[in-house]
């Protein structure tokens, strides 16, 4: 062990994570070497002092400015999210209506017609409505509950299939 080697091991030595035999070697060297003893002391003290350093505090006017900025951006983002949800809801409703119309006109893919026909027979929520359509009636605007129900029914279909007849 020489002074140069010792320098590289200082951290582990001070952390107490060093294995026993190596530590004994270091202790033996330090006991005989005044520069290393001083180096160890001052290095250890430096480590302690380093932990006294603190981050700069944010000046109050900066804080307020940053706060306004963040809140403004958050508001913009929130409006964006709401707009997106609104538009998406609208789109889903339109899709539901176009499927209902296509069902009335028998323009749907055959599998889907079959599905809706069998659903119609046992669904207390939309059965009556769907039956009325096959009398050739114009689909009246869906009530909100009924609309939600049909959207859910459509969402449960396997994805990726075009519901309309090719």
């Amino acid at each position: 062990m020489n002074c140069k080697e010792l320098i590289y091991l200082l951290e582990d030595y001070l952390d107490g994570t060093m294995e026993g035999q190596l530590k004994e070697e270091l202790d033996a060297h330090i006991a005989m070497c005044e520069p290393c003893l001083h180096f160890l002391e001052t290095y250890g003290k430096t480590r302690v002092l380093c932990r006294q350093v603190t981050l700069d505090e944010i000046p109050p006017e900066f804080r307020e400015r940053l706060r306004s900025f963040v809140m403004m951006k958050a508001r913009e983002r929130r409006n964006g999210i709401e707009k997106y949800l609104r538009e998406e809801g609208q789109e889903r409703r339109e899709q539901a209506m176009s499927i209902v119309r296509a069902y009335r006109d028998r323009r749907l893919a055959p599998a889907l017609i079959e599905l809706l026909d069998s659903h119609r027979e046992r669904c207390p929520t939309c059965g009556a409505y769907l039956k009325s359509l096959n009398g050739g009636e114009t689909p009246f605007p869906l009530s909100e509950g009924l609309e939600e129900h049909i959207v859910e029914f459509l969402d449960a279909l396997p994805p990726g299939e075009d519901p309309f007849r090719a």
């Binding site: 480590r47 380093c50 603190t54 900066f62 951006k73």
Partner: protein
């Protein structure tokens, strides 16, 4: 929702994704001080730090949806902050930094200390409070290149583990330990010179 629930990082993130104003409030309260302080320690300029802090919040908003939660929220935010600061430093004329090599210990061919090594422990305790010396150290860290300064700030000032620091900076743990060690060697030498000169004054 009771505000305390927002102290839970997962709840906070979930609410942020939905755009909850309370969650934004909580995010700001919990992190703005750290973000600014960290940015300031890297950029060393108030208005740069302020702009970097703005960038950090914007990035957090944008990425809240994709954050996987496989690291702690604060370390994710620190990472965003460090990256935002380094982006800002890029392309900027860097503040002249000292060459850390000039402060590394020098050895003879046999590996002995080439110069004298003096103790200053007692001296220091008599003359100066640890806090004052903390300020002196801080001045010295400002001359370090950001490569060392960032590691120093995360580990010693913020008290993060080497593993956390490594994760935030995308470095290996040995690389973090080595930079930290060199930063401390530099600071030890700077302090020695400072105190030696102080004595002769």
């Amino acid at each position: 929702m009771p505000a305390e629930r927002l102290y839970d990082d997962n709840v906070l993130l979930e609410e942020l994704r939905k755009g909850s104003p309370e969650a934004v409030e909580m995010l700001f309260e919990r992190f703005h001080g750290k973000i600014y302080g960290l940015a300031m320690s890297i950029l060393k300029n108030e208005s740069d730090a302020e702009e970097a802090a703005q960038d950090v919040f914007l990035t957090v908003f944008q990425k809240a949806d994709t954050f996987q939660g496989n690291s702690a929220l604060y370390s994710w935010i620190y990472r965003i902050c460090v990256n935002a600061c380094l982006m800002r430093l890029r392309g900027k004329r860097r503040h002249e930094t000292v060459s850390i090599e000039e402060f590394m210990p020098v050895f003879t061919e046999e590996g002995k200390h080439a110069g004298s090594v003096e103790s200053w422990g007692k001296e220091v305790e008599r003359k100066m409070l640890n806090r004052e010396l903390g300020q002196v150290i801080r001045k010295f860290t400002e001359d370090l290149s950001e490569k060392y300064r960032v590691v120093f700030v995360l580990s010693d000032v913020e008290g993060l583990s080497n593993e956390e620091t490594a994760q935030i900076l995308g470095l290996s743990v040995p690389a973090v330990k080595s930079r930290l060690h060199r930063a401390r060697l530099y600071l030890r030498e700077q302090l020695s010179r400072y105190l030696r000169e102080g004595k002769t004054d």
